[in-house]
């Protein structure tokens, strides 16, 4: 392997990780210098060092983060289980496909913000309505992508399976679901970010916990440094989930990619 090869670990670090880190370092330095030299008040724009300082001083941060992650994760998991199951049903039943799909599309057309008050009336101010928001907001991409993935399975393999009297569940688990995995992980990538958004928006409306609550209160109190901390944590969570599912997606598509290239 040559030295510039991105597939070696050191090469990968240099080619993939180093450029964005350099850009970030330059941007943060400029920011820091600008804040200090123009004497910008911290409520308007805190310096990066102040934000880092606030990050380590905020002892309740992990408490809030944990709450938001819990909501997003629970909603996402509910959505993933229901969404993949519904897709399996849709692929196996014409009736379900025609009867349910229009409503899946309608569910995506309603702005999530508009249902939050309703969910609050029904389920109160606790964690339940937030979990539901996360589930609803991440449902659509999971159902549409998984359905597409299940349908992408090779028609002839399915014919082969039917010719040896395979049951529908054998076809589903041995052929259709594995074929759909790249699509499913791609949809999880989108859904996980959406679930985080759902959790934060839900907390905006009614909560005394979570990163959304932290953002609202620090904004009203002009504690801009804390606001930045919350945003940074959210960004890190989003990037983390995106990277995880992106990695899984690549892992399951590797074979097909190489085949396409040939």
């Amino acid at each position: 392997m040559s030295e510039g090869d991105a597939s070696t670990t050191s090469g990968w670090l240099r080619d993939e990780i180093l450029p964005p880190l350099l850009i970030l370092a330059v941007a943060l330095t400029l920011w820091e210098v600008a804040v200090k030299s123009f004497d910008i008040p911290p409520w308007l724009l805190p310096a990066p060092t102040d934000i880092v300082d606030r990050f380590f001083k905020t002892t309740t941060l992990w408490y809030h983060t944990g709450f938001t992650v819990l909501e997003a994760l629970a909603g996402f998991l509910i959505s993933a289980i229901l969404g993949v199951s519904l897709s399996a049903g849709i692929v196996h039943s014409r009736f379900l496909e025609r009867g349910v799909f229009p409503y899946v599309i309608v569910s995506n057309a309603i702005p999530i913000i508009a249902i939050i008050p309703l969910l609050t009336i029904w389920f109160g101010f606790g964690i339940a309505p937030k979990i539901m928001i996360c589930a609803i907001i991440s449902f659509f991409p999971i159902v549409t992508n998984t359905t597409r993935g299940l349908k992408s399975a090779d028609r002839r393999i399915i014919e082969f399976m039917r010719s040896i009297n395979a049951t529908r569940s054998e076809i589903l688990f041995k052929v259709q679901l594995p074929s759909a995995l790249p699509f499913i992980f791609a949809s999880f990538k989108i859904a996980a970010s959406l679930a985080l958004v759902g959790a934060v928006v839900g907390e905006f409306y009614s909560s005394d916990l979570g990163l959304g609550y932290l953002i609202i209160t620090s904004a009203t109190q002009l504690r801009t440094d804390l606001l930045f901390v919350a945003i940074a944590v959210l960004a890190a969570l989003g990037v983390g989930s995106f990277t995880l599912f992106g990695y899984l997606e690549r892992k399951v598509t590797r074979g097909e990619r190489i085949e396409e290239m040939q």
Partner: protein
């Protein structure tokens, strides 16, 4: 064994007769080629026989019972034009797939798969993924996949038409070797005249719109076949006859 396949077949677009009054008897262990141009319903015929689609009229009998029963007891091994392998399974994993479905004894699965892969010279590639295999190798995997659980009837839908000339010749001989060993009844769909003559005991010549049987030839060249037979006068004669039958 296939007793009196007589059927009309309508497609979704109204009254298209894909197949019109087809009757055919195939003996146990016979190698029959279905030869005809695209659109003569050869592939539909295979799907009818294997109970994947129902006939509009007429009936299909396989080994004394209806086709649906034959399908339920796994009598059919299907091979398609494309290998249609599962990309996330290795060669042996693909060959093992039907054994997981038909309820083959788990402890004998690996041995059976390895034996079959070995018979087509792919044993050392058993742990390779489809994208690491050549087109001919993939099609060999697809062929042995259709044989693992010992079905009595092999249905092949233009299995070699996507391969290059040399690979095709190699696979034809591989198939004949497998056939002489495992003694399956083979229904082999092709639009290639010399392929049909070279492989089959009988060649069913079909014509399109609607698909029907024109004539049935019995070249019966001596077995085992060899490459040189392609140049023999007998072979040429049969090719000419088949071509004339297709055109008439």
């Amino acid at each position: 064994m296939i007793d009196h396949v007589s059927l009309h077949f309508r497609s979704e677009r109204g009254e298209v007769h894909a197949l019109s009054d087809i009757s055919l008897r195939v003996a146990e262990g016979e190698f029959v080629a279905l030869l005809g141009p695209t659109g003569c319903g050869k592939s539909s015929l295979l799907r009818l026989i294997s109970d994947l689609i129902p006939p509009t009229s007429g009936s299909i009998t396989v080994r004394g019972g209806p086709a649906s029963v034959a399908r339920r007891v796994n009598q059919f091994g299907f091979v398609f034009q494309e290998p249609a392998l599962l990309s996330w399974r290795t060669a042996i994993g693909n060959v093992r797939l039907p054994l997981e479905v038909v309820g083959y004894r788990p402890e004998q699965r690996t041995a059976r798969c390895e034996e079959l892969l070995d018979s087509v010279g792919l044993l050392k590639f058993k742990d390779s993924y489809p994208h690491e295999l050549s087109g001919g190798m993939k099609q060999r995997v697809a062929i042995v996949r259709a044989l693992t659980w010992n079905p009595s009837i092999l249905l092949m839908d233009e299995p070699f038409s996507a391969l290059d000339e040399l690979t095709r010749a190699q696979l034809q001989d591989d198939l004949l070797k497998l056939w002489s060993r495992e003694r399956k009844t083979v229904l082999f769909v092709t639009h290639n005249i010399s392929e049909a003559i070279y492989l089959a005991d009988r060649v069913v010549v079909m014509s399109p719109h609607p698909g029907r049987i024109k004539t049935i030839l019995s070249p019966g060249l001596s077995r085992p076949r060899s490459e040189e037979m392609h140049e023999s006068a007998e072979f040429m004669n049969w090719t000419r006859t088949a071509r004339a039958a297709l055109k008439s």
